[in-house]
């Protein structure tokens, strides 16, 4: 008598063979992995938090001014020997985004209360906020030079910074994009599973195998295992290859496993609904969108809007960001894992029910 495990193993071996023969998915998977990992390592691993300013002081060493503003955190001041050099540098956007061109005898004229005009040079495409900021900075500098006190009492820096001060340790584009790459890899595998399921339904191979001792539950179990296996392995490869596996490996493994179950459920739904390649693409995209949106949402500063926080992919993305970027553990990740697990259960059950109904009605 054939054991259930043996039947499932046989289905698994068959599905793996079919999957390996499908050049489209094999190519997309390999190219995708190489592309994601390659792009990841090409991205900057740090955030440039500094405003690069150029300064030229006529008839005087620029150090007089650069000493004054150059120590402030967030500024990097480069001095230029002539106004033309400064203009060229600002125009090129390298190495400065803006420049201050101070007239001859600036310091003395300020001290004497004479009329002084400072040229603030900005590239046309410089961030808008630099216009008021640099104008204000020059005026404030002049106030300081004439001995004027600031108009307000400045707040204490320690109490003014709310939350963990990440100055100098900002989340790099690499860290922000890692969940996007993982979710995209999961999406491709979900799409592959959906195609596999749709293909079997269309070719009625599922009906054929049900005339053997195999049961629907065996088919479903095999599809589930293959979906999870493919999705988890792709996601794990990306996590390992992007150097994130050392930070909370167990927690990441649990999150990726849940993510793999989630996309397997989505793949079963899309495969059950789609009748051909075009329909599978359509349903995969439509149903997969709520899994992908939170990953893109994480690219933005601040907490995700409420509607993103309830989407299926939010828990996975939060756990990934918090673990890989901030080193948080199971305790902090618990609510997100819980939400992800709940979505997994819901989507997976729906996928199984839909596929079972579809097979039974064939």
């Amino acid at each position: 008598m054939t054991s259930r495990a043996g039947v499932v193993r046989a289905f698994l071996a068959k599905d793996l063979r079919i999957h390996a023969r499908d050049r489209f998915y094999v190519v997309v998977t390999i190219v995708g992995l190489v592309f994601y990992i390659g792009v990841f390592w090409l991205l900057p691993d740090s955030v440039d938090e500094t405003l690069h300013l150029g300064v030229h002081v006529q008839d005087a060493p620029a150090e007089a001014l650069t000493d004054l503003v150059g120590d402030a955190e967030g500024f990097e001041v480069t001095s230029f020997g002539s106004a033309d050099d400064l203009e060229d540098a600002v125009d090129a956007g390298d190495p400065v985004v803006a420049g201050l061109d101070l007239p001859a005898g600036f310091l003395q004229a300020i001290a004497a209360g004479d009329d002084v005009t400072v040229r603030v040079l900005l590239r046309a495409d410089a961030p808008e906020e630099l216009r008021p900021a640099l104008s204000g900075m020059v005026r404030e500098l002049a106030f300081v030079l004439v001995g004027e006190q600031p108009p307000v009492t400045a707040p204490d820096l320690e109490t003014a910074v709310l939350g963990v001060d990440r100055a100098g340790e900002q989340l790099s584009l690499r860290d922000q994009l890692r969940p996007v790459f993982v979710v995209l890899a999961l999406f491709v595998e979900m799409f592959a599973l959906a195609s596999l399921v749709a293909g079997e339904i269309q070719q009625r191979t599922i009906t054929a195998v049900l005339t053997t001792p195999a049961r629907i539950s065996d088919v479903l179990a095999a599809k589930t295992v293959i979906g999870m296996l493919l999705a988890f392995s792709q996601a794990a490869i990306i996590v390992v290859a992007t150097g994130a596996a050392t930070r909370g490996p167990m927690l990441l493994a649990v999150a990726l496993l849940l993510g793999a179950i989630l996309v397997t459920g989505v793949g079963l739904i899309a495969g059950s609904l789609g009748k051909d390649f075009v329909e599978v693409v359509f349903w995969s995209f439509l149903i997969g969108l709520p899994v992908m949106i939170p990953a893109f949402g994480a690219l933005f500063p601040g907490s995700a809007p409420g509607w993103i926080q309830v989407l299926p992919g939010h828990g996975l993305v939060e756990v990934m960001v918090r673990t890989t970027a901030y080193g948080e553990g199971f305790t902090e990740a618990f609510p997100y894992l819980g939400m992800l697990a709940a979505w997994c259960g819901l989507v997976f059950v729906l996928g199984v029910v839909l596929l079972r109904r579809r097979v039974v009605r064939l």
Partner: protein, 379 residues
């Protein structure tokens, strides 16, 4: 009469039959996910790029203000260029939002703050910055805040500032990516729908069935091409409308979109006549699509030399759209490009006809083989 003789027999092209075939496709079209796909994708792409990535690339410092004393600073700050100001009622909420990094910085303006500044009392400024805000953002917010507060007492600054802008203003992201939206809209609908429609008819056998009636291959291609063209014009026009540029130079936009739709529908007919199945069509689309899409790169990065873009056929309807949206170009300004686009459409016609004949021949041969199989005596 066998299918083959009916198919090769010549009747006159009937506009009525094209109309019937088109109506059938229009009736059945909305049921196809591909039609939905072709019409939805441009919307999704526009929203994604403008709403998501546009915001990402042009992120401004976000300042929250709780005004407890009707300060004049609120109005002044709200008019600042490049700083996104949010007004809140509750200081606790402000602190929470700054801490969550939903705001980069926040002010709590106490009652009597303005008067205290004017009286030279140097009141405490309740300025908060988020731990996740960039150092440069903190500097910008702090310096701008001080400058605005200075402005309250109307004291003349000891220095005049002459703000000089260098270089040309860069085109905003939504303008540079407009050709991408247009090509996505026009090409997806114009190419994919006629191509997929022809392939489906081939695979389902309805093409062979139709060709044993007086319907000619040219009528079939005409109907499929018209459907693709119509949907491409709709998708292109809607894309231009949701991007807010259709009104800038409507005549240029419309002519360019129509020419683009005709060109793409012809490409779709060639692709659909050639491809065996949907998978082959997608495979060809992924590689051949590059020829249609690459000119877009030169609009997104205008500093690149533009001559390579001129080798791409789609350049000649995208360039008028781009110039119309950027500089309000009229038909007189872009007539050369539009004439070249029309010439490309004319040049594609023989290819469409040749591919149609090839397809007709293949369908006829297949039908003949089937006929022969059917009359073969059973041994």
């Amino acid at each position: 009469m066998t299918g083959m003789t009916r198919m090769t027999g010549r009747t006159r092209v009937s506009l009525a039959r094209i109309g019937i075939l088109l109506r059938k496709d229009l009736r059945l079209g909305p049921r196809s996910p591909l039609v939905l796909w072709a019409l939805i994708i441009p919307f999704v792409l526009t929203l994604l790029v403008r709403g998501v990535f546009g915001g990402l690339f042009t992120a401004e410092p976000r300042l929250g203000i709780v005004d407890q004393g009707a300060s004049e600073l609120v109005a002044v700050a709200s008019e600042l260029d490049g700083i996104e100001v949010t007004l809140l009622d509750d200081p606790t909420e402000l602190r929470e939002q700054v801490e969550r990094n939903d705001l980069d910085a926040g002010w709590i303006l106490q009652p009597g703050f303005d008067a205290a500044v004017r009286d030279g009392e140097r009141p405490q400024l309740d300025l908060f910055v988020g731990g996740e805000s960039l150092a440069s953002t903190r500097i910008v917010v702090a310096v701008t805040t001080l400058d605005l507060v200075r402005g309250l007492d109307d004291a003349a600054a000891p220095v005049e500032v002459d703000l000089i802008t260098i270089g040309d203003e860069a085109l905003p992201l939504e303008v540079t990516v407009l050709p991408l939206f247009v090509i996505m809209a026009v090409a997806l609908a114009g190419v994919m729908i006629p191509a997929a429609g022809l392939i489906e008819e081939k695979q389902a056998g309805t093409l062979a069935a139709l060709l044993v009636t007086p319907t000619r291959m040219s009528e079939m291609l005409g109907a499929k091409g018209l459907l693709g063209m119509l949907l491409a014009v709709v998708a292109g026009t809607v894309t231009l409308t949701i991007n807010g540029v259709i009104g800038v130079s409507p005549s240029v936009m419309l002519v360019a979109v129509v020419l683009g739709a005709v060109m793409m529908a012809q490409v779709g007919l060639i692709l659909g006549s050639w491809a065996r199945d949907i998978n082959t069509m997608f495979a060809a689309w992924k590689s051949g699509g590059l020829i249609l899409f690459y000119p877009v790169i030169f609009f997104i990065w205008p500093d690149l030399p533009t001559w390579p873009a001129r080798f791409g056929p789609t350049f000649y309807f995208l360039e008028p759209v781009h110039r119309a949206s950027v500089e309000g170009a009229t038909l007189g300004d872009v007539w050369v490009e539009l004439v070249v686009a029309a010439a490309i459409c004319l040049a594609l016609l023989p290819a469409v006809v040749a591919m149609g004949r090839r397809l007709e021949g293949r369908v006829s041969r297949r039908a003949s083989r089937r006929d022969e199989d059917e009359v073969q005596p059973v041994a």
